[in-house]
Amino acid sequence: MTARPALESTTLASEFPPGLKDFNFKVLWEFQLLGINFEITKLTVLLWVSVLALVVFFSLAVRNQKMVPGRLQFAGESAYGFVRDGMAKPMMGEEGVRFAPYLTTLFCFIIVSNWWAIIPVVQIPTTAKISLPVVLALISYVLFNWVGIRKHGVKKYFGGIFWPAGAPWWILWLLTPIEIISTLIARPVTLAVRLFANMFAGHMLLLVFTFGGVALLNSDNFVNKTFSIFSFGMAIVMTIFEFMVQIIQAYVFTILTASYLQGALAEEH
């Protein structure tokens, strides 16, 4: 244990303990608009590509609809059908069909954004930066509050939050703060943080095993070199595991939005 392996010898292995630095990308293009600095990085380009891919996919899927659907139409319809019949209807009943297009867009967009994590060469999910999940969570937050206010009116909607139905008056000093925090603050924060942290942790996990494998392979020790196989093997296993997590996170984000919408629409909430 006297001669420590020279980890700094190569560029890739020197990155071994991966950290926040691995989420900062080279600025490809920089410009100012209305006094705000815009920096276009790999992640921004990926974001545009995922939006474009979804627009193209769904426009081709709905174009030239037939009674017996073709392959593309079938794919589009099953995505919509899955969200409508699997999430919107079980959570909100027939009223939920109204929100199925939004939920489908949300589901597909999150799933595409997450899939960048395991698509070879790209391998960075756009949702691993907090900004994208925050925007998605804010859209859902504004939507469910707006829907609730539209349906019940400001007084009844916020009254339902401040005074939960059926609660006796003497418990309100405890219940009202909890309800306000959980409904108006914790909901958007957890929506955003859950998606972000899952993707962030997933990317970090893959980095640990790949960089770790490289670091082991570059060490002078023969035993360490042998164990790098296991590290790379774990990276592959974790890629498959991440594929599952990505789908689950998209599902969870959508179903939570549906459940919040249901809470806002319910007569007594």
Binding site: T190, R194, F196, A197, F200, V252
Partner: protein, 74 residues
């Protein structure tokens, strides 16, 4: 004051380990309850699936907050 113990390395890692205990138990209980219920009543398996993921997601958020905090305070 005498020092009883000393910690070397990343304190965030230890903090995240502590933060993961509760959610770990909680997620286990959610899945155990789902398996139990769908073994007794297989017809209800599909009906309960959204609630399984809902419960899992709500509990898991706590562990993920721990993870995010670990990086925020490094």
């Amino acid at each position: 004051m005498t020092e009883l113990a000393e910690i070397n390395g990343s304190l965030s890692a230890i903090g995240y380990g502590l933060a993961a205990i509760g959610p770990g138990v909680g997620v286990g209980m959610v899945f155990a309850a789902y398996i139990k219920s769908s073994a007794r009543q297989p017809a209800s398996a599909k009906m309960n699936l959204p609630y399984l993921f809902l419960g899992m997601a709500l509990i898991e958020a706590l562990a993920l907050f721990g993870l995010a905090m670990g990086f925020a305070y490094t």
